[in-house]
């Protein structure tokens, strides 16, 4: 038996897992319309590559990943693109965003898939590309594009691959069902992921001990596959053991340093659902277009797990399960701890939808009004990140962002254990989410103002520098002029002539001095003057040539320019002559 570690805090809410395990996994008749939001994952929204009216086949790419942190989206069935428009998103904000809407043609015709039987021989990049193309994003709920996790930055050595089959959240049994019904695929997927990561020393499949059937199924699949390297690790049921950081701590005793990734401690963690999706992508070329979702709650007649195409509207699913709108206290996507309430059933299932919860009013009454925080500290006892939620709450209310930062609010995983144990019924996590948002905004604002301040200061410096340079030049000219004047006076005195102060002479002397300060030797000056002359004369020639070609008003203008050029030529000639005279004489 492998050693497992304990995590700090944690809670034991009623599991409520048996309701949805009464029926076998099934699927529903196809919904007439599927809605596919372009952003179902963490990162940039995908870019639609179909247009309204296009016919699409099941599995066909309809939106391309925008950059590395993004994910492809594929048509979950065949039909026509009836609209690309903003629809309400399954998101806590209840806001809307761009979606591709597909009207099903009912035939469910597959596009041609790129299956591969002996995928073991594929190289790293091909495998990764297959997984990336399939648009797999963390199916445990976070929706982080899987391909990125599977390709850790160059020099990081991965010694442990963890498959997350914990599913610690109450009510949800989607991963449990998946492990029971598709254990071979989980194991085969694990083999692919291990191969991708350079066959790490440990491949652990973490499952809470409240899922004995799943543990048995996976163990059987492992022995069938004659796989002795992989290991199922079961551990005591406690929420939130299934959080990535928590699971890593339970199975390896390591903590992912703040602000770092699991790969930094040599661990990669993938949800079992994502693992199966990776297997199907590599083996059959199937993109991620459906998933197992738990449909549960006392406001439904049937509670079970279904395999459902991504994009199926929640309302349609509820209809198929005998939903009574009058009984439901609130509709939740995800579990009771980390899920969020939906304002409308008119949103689709997306890649991260592991549960649709429709509890009755008796089952999940409206929360009682919040009372004052008495700092009892039960939240701190329950916090899996060893934070002080009561202090975070206090500083959240005061909007003291510095204190929040110092109390490590960034390390809050928003599991909701603190809210669950709070005797004053304070929705603590909502406060932290709001504060995190405020901090993000503050950081953006600060960066903006920092940047404009830097810009301003740089300009200020540049202006000052120019000023200083100008001043230095001016001073140098002054010194040179004075020196020249003194020299002239001395020369005149030596020549015995009476010093005559003539303004023009001063200017000429200054000009000569300036020429001297520029350190130009006579040869260079001569060359410069000759160059000026030749360029002036060639300009004159060019202008003359054009004057001959031109007519009318234009000719007058060009003739004026000819005059100008002639003047310049004569000017240059004079200067050259002067210089030669001066040099020779």
């Amino acid at each position: 038996m492998r050693k497992v570690w304990d995590i700090h805090g944690g809670i034991h809410p009623p599991e409520n897992k048996q309701q949805s395990m009464q029926h076998a996994l099934t699927s529903l008749p196809l919904a007439p319309e599927l809605v596919l939001p372009l952003n179902q994952h963490i990162g940039k929204p995908a870019i639609a590559i179909v247009a309204e009216g296009d016919t699409v086949l099941k599995g066909q790419l309809i939106a391309k990943a925008a950059g590395p942190i993004s994910a492809n989206i594929h048509a979950p069935t065949s039909g026509t693109v009836s609209a690309i428009e903003d629809r309400t998103l399954p998101h806590p904000s209840g806001g809307s965003g761009p979606c591709i809407v597909i009207s099903s043609d009912g035939k469910d015709t597959w596009t041609k898939l790129d299956a591969c039987e002996n995928y073991q021989s594929l190289d790293h990049n091909t495998l990764l590309e297959k997984i990336r193309n399939a648009g797999i994003a963390g199916m445990g709920g976070a929706g982080f594009p899987a391909a990125i996790k599977l390709n850790p930055r160059g020099n990081l050595k991965i010694d442990t691959l963890i498959l997350n089959g914990t599913e610690c959240e109450p009510y949800i049994t989607a991963d449990d069902t998946l492990m029971q019904t598709r254990a071979q695929e989980v194991v085969a997927g694990a083999q692919i992921l291990a191969q991708l990561l350079g066959n790490p020393k440990n491949v652990l499949i973490g499952i809470e001990d409240n899922k004995p059937e799943a543990i048995r199924a996976i163990n059987k699949a492992l022995s069938d596959a004659e796989n002795k390297q992989f290991e199922v690790v079961s551990f005591a049921t406690k929420y939130p053991s299934g959080g990535e950081k928590q699971l890593i701590q339970i199975l390896t005793g390591r903590e992912v340093p703040a602000g770092k990734l699991p790969a930094d401690v040599g661990v990669v963690c993938q949800n079992v659902g994502s693992t199966v999706a990776a297997y199907r992508a590599v083996r059959f070329g199937e993109p991620l277009i459906s998933r197992i979702t738990t449909v549960v709650g006392e406001a439904l007649e049937i509670q079970r797990n279904i395999e459902v195409p991504i994009g199926t509207p929640i309302g349609y699913i509820l209809e198929q399960h005998g939903f009574t709108a009058a009984n439901v206290s609130r509709l939740i996507m995800g579990g009771p701890m980390m899920g969020f309430a939906l304002n409308t059933a008119d949103v689709p299932v997306i890649k991260t939808t592991n549960c649709i919860l429709a509890p009755s009013r008796v089952e999940m009454p409206a929360p009682p009004p919040a009372q004052a925080c008495i700092r009892c500290g039960m939240c701190a006892e329950a916090c899996p990140a060893s934070l002080l939620p009561q202090q975070l709450f206090w500083y959240s209310m005061a909007e003291d962002l510095d204190k929040l930062e110092a109390h490590n609010i960034a390390d809050c995983i928003e599991c909701g254990a603190c809210s669950y144990v709070c005797p004053s019924n304070i929705p603590l996590v909502q406060f932290y989410r709001a504060s995190k948002g405020a901090m993000k905004q503050h950081a953006i604002d600060k960066e903006k103002s920092d940047r404009s301040r830097a810009r301003f200061e740089f300009r200020q410096q540049r202006v000052e520098k120019a000023e200083v340079e100008k001043e230095a030049k001016r001073a140098a000219r002054k010194v040179a002029a004075e020196a020249a004047k003194a020299k002239l006076a001395a020369k005149q005195a030596a020549d015995g002539e009476s010093p005559k102060s003539d303004g023009t002479a001063d200017v000429v002397a200054a000009a000569i001095a300036k020429a001297k300060t520029q350190d130009l030797s006579p040869e260079v000056q001569l060359a410069k003057l000759e160059r000026a002359l030749s360029s002036a004369s060639s300009r004159l020639d060019r202008t003359l040539a054009r004057a001959e070609e031109a007519e009318g008003e234009k000719k007058d203008a060009i003739l004026a320019r000819v005059k100008d050029a002639e003047l310049k030529v004569s000017d240059a000639k004079t200067k050259l002559a002067d210089f030669q005279a001066r040099e020779n004489g």
């Binding site: 340093p257 703040a258 009372q371 701190a380 899996p384 204190k403």
Partner: protein, 333 residues
Amino acid sequence: MKLVILATLPGLITLSYFFGPGTLINVFTAGIMAIACEALVLKLRQRPVMFYISDYSALVTGVLLGLALPPYAPWWVIAVGCISAIILAKQLYGGMGYNPFNPAMVGYVILLISFPLEMTQWAMPRTLLAEGQALTGPIDGLAKMWFATPLDAYTGATPLDVFKQNNSQLVQHLYDTKPVFSTGRWAGAGWEWANIGFLMGGCFLLYKKVFTWHAPVSMLLALSVMAAMFNDGGSSNSGGSPLFHLLSGATMLGAFFIVTDPVSSATSNKGRMIYGAAIGVLIYLIRTWGNYPDAVAFAVLLLNFAAPFIDYYTLPRTYGHSKARRGTEKEVE
């Protein structure tokens, strides 16, 4: 909160058994007055009165103050105490959850400083009664309380008073000669049992996980260690044995019902251990070398002041961080 009130019962019953119904009357009166004060201010602040009253926090404050007051205290003493505790120390700071000081202790200290005579007249325990004398009855007690009808010699020195006024006598001599000790078992008649009563209530609350062990245990430990250090075998300079200190005055009431008040104490478990230990040390210092025979209220209030300071240095180490941070520290990579 209801559990806390329930847990005071063993202490309340032993106090009433040994010293007469005075404490019981105190608790009832203070409880009602505290709720009345709370309701009044909530009304003035235009807050939902019933919503806040039903959190029982005002009742708890009243009950704790009632337990701490001398039996048969005049009604106006209780009234001033409740007004100070609820209105001054709690509601003026923003009510439940916002008070930096323990309200019951603020009320107690204001009374102790303002009305030293009324506040130092403890009743005699039943074991000290003269032949033929009975404990004060409820009727007489109420008459004393509301109409200042005098009672026959009902007061006596508490064990802590005796130690305070020790005229160069050995501890053993005190135990032998002073009736409050000679009729008791370990730390003075009545008091030892009242403290054991509160200890039992405290253990019940610990078992019910109303609070963690950190603050009370560290307070009792610190007090015992101090007492053991300065016991010096029972000379006339002795401050008393650890057992004496654990079972006298308000030690157990303080440890399990006052120090554990989460609002005004330090936040983290580590912080609460420091908080409790400092209170234990201060109790001993004030009892032995200060001007007041007992010291729980002063020690608690002083540490209430220090709680934010303790919090600053006792943040727990967060997951993924190599060490604990300070309250406002910027993290350096």
